[in-house]
């Protein structure tokens, strides 16, 4: 029959390290300088610790709702290590590792989740967009930045992140298609962590892989072990090269797993088994990278201990500093609505100031 030709696309998963950090794909092992390798590892550890610490604070009632990243560090650090300083980072909302690697101070990230917009001001030239909650919409922002880069011939590429659930959204489709049409320097990384809140990947789409969605846009797609930082590095590097040569966007699916809850409001035991989580814990990207570095004599137990001790203090100090920062003032929440405050809004602000203090005011 005529439709029988159209079997589903089969993709192989690209990887370099196995779960014990052994190189299984020698030929593809990237030549990354030692400093970068160590920076990758350190960022993964820092992220893990900051993330776990934030969860503790949240459980103590000192932190608001946030979206833990635990387990996905490699899928983020690999790509960022492969990128240049001028390249742009367009996150979804679970990209703490990517943002830290790219240079956002932890204090900003904590501040954002602590409920203060100042946490999204990363400074001029940072080339990072704020956390993006409305699913999928960031892909169109990324396409727009990539368009500007192409127009201005700035040589900057864009790395955008999205979740497995996000690929179902119309915004993802339009952004990827748009980037394809204009051969824009965009690399979109799908962190397939197997869930969108409670909804498993299998209910998100019938496609066997998310990487194959690239076909819809006539661009390359790659399926990668997302807990393998080297594999993520290599594939992103290749995609960035294409991007900068004007060959257009690439779609990368990183197979990974969210070890924690969706957000601190979520109870994952409702929808997944402990066994499943335990299986994935064995594939922890940090263990893998640790072993790889140890095997190459770039890392050891003593270094690890010192590092964790230093980080622990740094992270706790950072959070305490955040707790001490003043909450946004009335002026602050009004003043950025427009670049210049219109008259009527000024009056509303004055009126608000004159109003009785409410229960929430301090």
């Amino acid at each position: 029959m005529v439709l029988d030709n159209f079997k589903d696309w089969k993709m192989e998963t690209f990887s370099i390290l196995d779960k014990n950090g052994k190189v299984t794909n020698k030929e593809k092992e990237p030549k990354i300088d030692n400093d970068t390798l160590v920076k990758m590892y350190k960022t993964m550890v820092y992220t893990r610790m900051a993330d776990e610490q934030a969860l503790k604070y949240q459980r103590q009632g000192r932190m608001l709702t946030f979206a833990p990243v635990k387990g996905q560090e490699a899928a983020q650090v690999g790509p960022m290590a492969a990128s240049d300083k001028g390249d742009w980072l367009v996150p979804a909302f679970r990209e703490m590792a990517a943002m830290l690697y790219k240079g956002v101070p932890l204090q900003k990230l904590y501040l954002y989740w602590y409920g203060n917009e100042q946490g999204s001001h990363f400074g001029e030239g940072s080339h990072i967009l704020p956390v993006n909650v409305p699913i999928g919409s960031q892909v169109n922002h990324a396409a727009g930045i990539a368009y500007a880069s192409k127009l201005k011939e700035s040589g900057e590429a864009v790395i955008a992140f999205i979740g497995d659930g996000g690929t179902s959204h119309g915004e993802f489709h339009e952004g990827m298609n748009f980037a394809g049409v204009f051969d824009l320097p965009l690399v979109t990384i799908i962190q397939n962590n197997h869930y969108a809140i409670s909804t498993p990947r299998s209910k998100q789409t019938k496609a066997a892989s998310l990487a194959q969605k690239a076909h819809a846009y006539g661009i390359p797609g790659a399926l990668v072990d997302g807990n393998d930082p080297l594999a993520m590095y290599v594939v992103t590097k290749a995609a960035l090269e294409r991007a900068k040569k004007g060959e257009g966007p690439t779609l990368i699916e990183a197979l990974t797993y969210r070890l924690g809850p969706h957000t601190t409001s979520d109870d994952p035991t409702i929808y997944r088994s402990d066994e499943e989580v335990e299986e994935w814990k064995k594939k922890d990207p940090i263990i893998r990278m640790y072993k790889y570095l140890s095997n190459r004599n770039l890392w050891n137990k003593e270094k690890e201990e010192t590092l964790r001790k230093d980080y622990k203090k740094e992270i706790q100090d950072t959070f305490k500093a955040v707790e001490k920062l003043p909450a946004p003032t009335l002026d602050e929440v009004f003043d950025y609505t427009y670049t210049e405050m219109p008259e009527y809004l000024q009056r509303q602000k004055e009126a608000r100031k004159a109003q009785a203090k409410s229960g929430g005011d301090r």
Partner: protein, 327 residues
């Protein structure tokens, strides 16, 4: 027989009853099936009615609402959930250009018995886009109905009426009071007619109109009010079409109107209520009608959210100001 329940439980109960009663009712949305929704409003439904009538969808608001149009055309009564009202935007195209219009454009051939549920409103220290009050974006569109309950009793009866309505209904749920208090609610099914306001408390001096979580704040304010001011408290319950008659009858009596809402001021529902008061009760107004609302700014993150909120203190203050108003 009565049962004590929260507003959330009342909605859940109504969904159970309506699904039980009518096989054509289907409930779905992001995480609305297996897990029963991020707030658990749809908890237990999949177990009771199976995976075909209660299901999880991909993250696709346009598909969630657009498929509802198709389901309605084919004889179902879909009750889709939008996870938070701030995420309705990607599905707003379907709401504005199809749900609201299909009955008219097909000259009655295709009815749209669709109830779109969405939690809304602030004050819960939530993430960005989780606190919006977007009533205006529905009330401005001809062909839609918009319902907001403020008590468990109303929530259950309005949900029954919404699901049974042959017109598309947006059913906004004040998530801040999902579990704030309990109320005795009849165990058997009942409906509260859409388009009928409720006079919550009789009064002579001021007409206060509020709904959702603001009704709760208004009640608290009135309870705490020391002054001897007689406030008539009205809950429209249906925001579109709004029951102007009940409100205007009260305004004609009191001469003073205070509208309280969580949404921003400009073109919030208050603007419409005041304009209608001008059209229908102008010479009975004894003071300029007052809007107590969020200012025209973007909902701040939780640390700054109180600058955006209306609460009982602010309501008390406005009541006093209005009561003592002199030209």
């Amino acid at each position: 027989m009565m049962a004590e329940m929260t507003l959330l439980k009342a909605i859940n109960t109504a969904l159970h009853e309506q699904m039980e009663k009518d096989d054509s009712v289907v409930v779905y949305g992001e995480d609305a099936g297996y897990e029963g929704g991020v707030f658990r409003v749809t908890a237990g439904l999949q177990k009771a009615f199976g995976e075909k009538r209660v299901f999880d969808t991909p993250i696709s608001e346009a598909a969630i609402l657009g498929s509802a149009v198709g389901m309605a055309v084919a004889g179902l009564r879909p009750v889709p959930e939008i996870q938070f009202s701030g995420f309705m935007f990607p599905g707003y195209n379907q709401i504005a250009v199809h749900l609201a219009r299909m009955h008219n454009r097909s000259r009655g051939l295709y009815k749209m018995p669709i109830t779109i549920r969405m939690p809304y409103g602030g004050g819960v220290r939530a993430l960005e886009h989780h606190s919006e009050s977007l009533e205006t974006l529905f009330a401005h569109i001809p062909g839609l109905k918009l319902v907001i309950p403020s008590t468990p009793y109303d929530a259950k009866g309005l949900m029954a009426a919404a699901i049974q309505s042959d017109d598309p209904v947006i059913y906004m749920e004040p998530k801040r009071i999902y579990r704030a208090f309990k109320q005795e609610v009849p165990e058997k099914e009942y409906t509260i007619p859409l388009g009928k306001a409720k006079v919550v408390q009789k009064g002579e001096d001021i007409t206060l109109v509020a709904w959702g979580a603001m009704m709760h704040e208004a009640r608290k304010a009135l309870k705490e009010l020391d002054e001897d001011i007689s406030v008539e408290l009205i809950d429209p319950r249906t925001i579109s079409p709004i029951d102007t008659d009940t409100i205007m009858e009260s305004v004609k009596k009191t001469g003073k109107l205070l509208v309280v809402h969580e949404a921003v001021k400009t073109l919030g529902i208050g603007a419409e209520i005041i304009s209608r008061a001008n059209e229908e009760a102008f010479f009975r107004l004894e003071a300029p009608p007052v809007r107590l609302t969020a200012p025209d700014i973007i909902v701040p993150l939780p640390q700054g959210e109180h600058h955006h909120m209306v609460d009982k203190e602010r309501i008390k203050q406005e009541i006093k100001k209005l009561a003592s108003f002199e030209e």
